[in-house]
Symmetry: C3
Subunit: 332 residues, 3 copies
Amino acid sequence: MANTTWTRNHVLSLSDFTPDEYNTVLQTAASFSEVLSRRTKKVPTLQGQVVANLFFESSTRTRSSFELAAKRLSADTLNFAAATSSLTKGETILDTAKTYLAMGTDMMVIRHKESGVPSAIAQEMDRLGVKVGVLNAGDGQHEHPSQGLLDLFTICTLLNPQEPRLELLAGKKIAIVGDILHSRVARSNIWSLTASGAEVHLAAPPTLLPKLFADYGIGTGKLFLHWQIEPALQNADFVMTLRLQKERMTSHLLPSLREYHQLFGITRDRLQLCQPNVKVLHPGPVNRGVEISSDLMDDPDFSLISQQVTSGVAVRMALLYLMGSGKAGNSL
Amino acid sequence: MANTTWTRNHVLSLSDFTPDEYNTVLQTAASFSEVLSRRTKKVPTLQGQVVANLFFESSTRTRSSFELAAKRLSADTLNFAAATSSLTKGETILDTAKTYLAMGTDMMVIRHKESGVPSAIAQEMDRLGVKVGVLNAGDGQHEHPSQGLLDLFTICTLLNPQEPRLELLAGKKIAIVGDILHSRVARSNIWSLTASGAEVHLAAPPTLLPKLFADYGIGTGKLFLHWQIEPALQNADFVMTLRLQKERMTSHLLPSLREYHQLFGITRDRLQLCQPNVKVLHPGPVNRGVEISSDLMDDPDFSLISQQVTSGVAVRMALLYLMGSGKAGNSL
Amino acid sequence: MANTTWTRNHVLSLSDFTPDEYNTVLQTAASFSEVLSRRTKKVPTLQGQVVANLFFESSTRTRSSFELAAKRLSADTLNFAAATSSLTKGETILDTAKTYLAMGTDMMVIRHKESGVPSAIAQEMDRLGVKVGVLNAGDGQHEHPSQGLLDLFTICTLLNPQEPRLELLAGKKIAIVGDILHSRVARSNIWSLTASGAEVHLAAPPTLLPKLFADYGIGTGKLFLHWQIEPALQNADFVMTLRLQKERMTSHLLPSLREYHQLFGITRDRLQLCQPNVKVLHPGPVNRGVEISSDLMDDPDFSLISQQVTSGVAVRMALLYLMGSGKAGNSL
């Protein structure tokens, strides 16, 4: 398993990922997908190392995916959930992280409702001169890089199962539809997809897609904003829908879920606008009948939603492996 | 370890268990009891497999028992608790189960306050054509099959420690006393005990034992209903008490816990009616002084309550082993 | 690893610890510190054994430390949190403990907000004649012995990294500052430090340091009480600060956090009173700027707070090893 190019201690954002780094993750994840198809889906790579899942914001799905990835690499895992934590006792987040460091944690997977928390912890680890890797598992409205990478892996694996590479996306048209304003998933995807050379089309009601998003595409010429869904779907190869938080309505950004579905929901009819073999992605959990019609979600000819979840474990194994092996000289 | 007769992918109910299946579980659990008496209580049977405990209704006791059973088979475990889950985010239960499937879960242990949820998930797994076993860990007022099997194992092991078999119960009189109407434990026990050829006597106040329960015994001639406790206890070999939910009083099904204890509580005096070597079971957690007098619960001459907990780990190891080995050709 | 002197089944309190026992823990923890510096920080000592963390009072920090200690000894762990437990269903605490016993638990780590609960459970285990070790992880305002031992280990290791021994503290002056009245940490530390032959000086406002604390030092001649901080700090070699519960103010024991910091907070200025190479300890979590000034907490020349957390894992491994090896004849 080649990882000669990997020098990154932390994975906090995709904004500065290089094509080499994307491809190293894709190839490493492909190797782990092979491991996961074996009868015994476990490798001893990270035996004796500790991965702490520090979830200051609750998430069953992402936490389980990281926990399983760590266990399949034979790491020990510690789970921290904010609800039962010292945070309620007045400890700062940096102090919590330093406590886990002092216990002997090798890698920290961090989710927080505030943007920037994983970066702040990573900076503190670097300042202290310790080799502890920090993985951003979602921070506020900033980024969710492992989700961006698993979406990329899902698409590239579909295009070339043996050799998924970033370059496979060049010239493809990808629509991202939904609550882009509040979505850390969308932000991470915009970085990876524009880096691949794909055309990225964002579509949302104006309240959920401010003009400033055009700035993400500066220099690439590959990012387009739409306040209707049709131009985004036109001839698209892939459609990424985003989860709609129901809280958005109470804050008057949306009139109703029903109206949202009528205007921006992904339906079989709307997919007629796309390429014939178009595929739909969603980071989950899905509000059936809101972001996507229920029958479409379950149709394996169109939906990649299950593959995304499966890719998640392989990609997270790859990230933990790359971050952990840099430190300890492990081999697969 | 013989399991030639086992073809069942899921364990959802005891209503259609065959005598061969009961005996396969009993014999396999007996083998695991032997493992649990070793110094190192672990076997590598399910190494690299993943058991997900999806507890949509909280339960420390049953969840710990399944978790320990899985760990002693060397499986990796994922714990899901409803309180911190995507359910609060609007995801359907089937979608949650499919997410765990896509992550690579091999077996799902499911508890839910609604009857039928584990069956619905099992049907969905079958529809998808995947070999994922579903184990009902208690659904509403429907069934709790692993509890029924561990009660059976506890009794049969007492009668013949080396070779616990269903047939040992033929002709025995077993009383089930308490809140039968709301008890999934009672329903599972009625299936297994009537299948064994035992005489099963249900006793409860009329509000907690509707006449329709007689239907469970149709064709067996072995099920009897009583609205007083005495005829049920008369010459009984085993007395199973059921947990009384305190909520039953607020819904006016019971006048008071004290009156319930006076009329249906198991006491040393009442046990005089039974066979001299009568034993008492309770699925736990116990309300001391309500379903059973406190001193009786702690008397090893009468109480099998601790043995039931111990049996629980062995029986759950047996179920996970049988369900997992059918898939992967594992051997003990 | 010599542990010829260890005969203790339970660790509930330091009040009756002998110098031999202190030194056995210190030496065993020193051996495990060496294990923790290896690349693979895991030993097979407790493989196949089960450590149940029964936290009736929530604590992320202590629970994670015990969990990691158990995992590094290759034990399986079960976590119990009161919030989701049968306690809400009316089960007694002893019955909960007996349930975990019946499942096959080898050691129980117990935290409870009431003093005496771990002792009550230990007595029950002894009464039942079972070899299950009980470890007090903090009970009410009684004791927190593993914290006392890790503090001792942290100090002794500083004085002699190769051979930490109790006797190294003879003649040292140690100040304990803060909410001594409510602190189980202070009580455990008073036992170990007076046993070592150190001079122990307690300092707190009168509402948080009643005169009866002098009784702890009866016969030792080494315990001193102060209602101002200065005499306690004068020439001190070590300063132990205690966490201040914010609830203390609402119960009118303190005027304000700010005033507390002005009178009893540890600051760079105040440390001028101490020995030049004085070190500061805190059991965490810290209220920065209350018990200790923020810059001091982060200054590795003065603060031992990180080392305390690291020591915690080694000391808890030592305790689990000593309690477990007595039973099963394990060797490291």
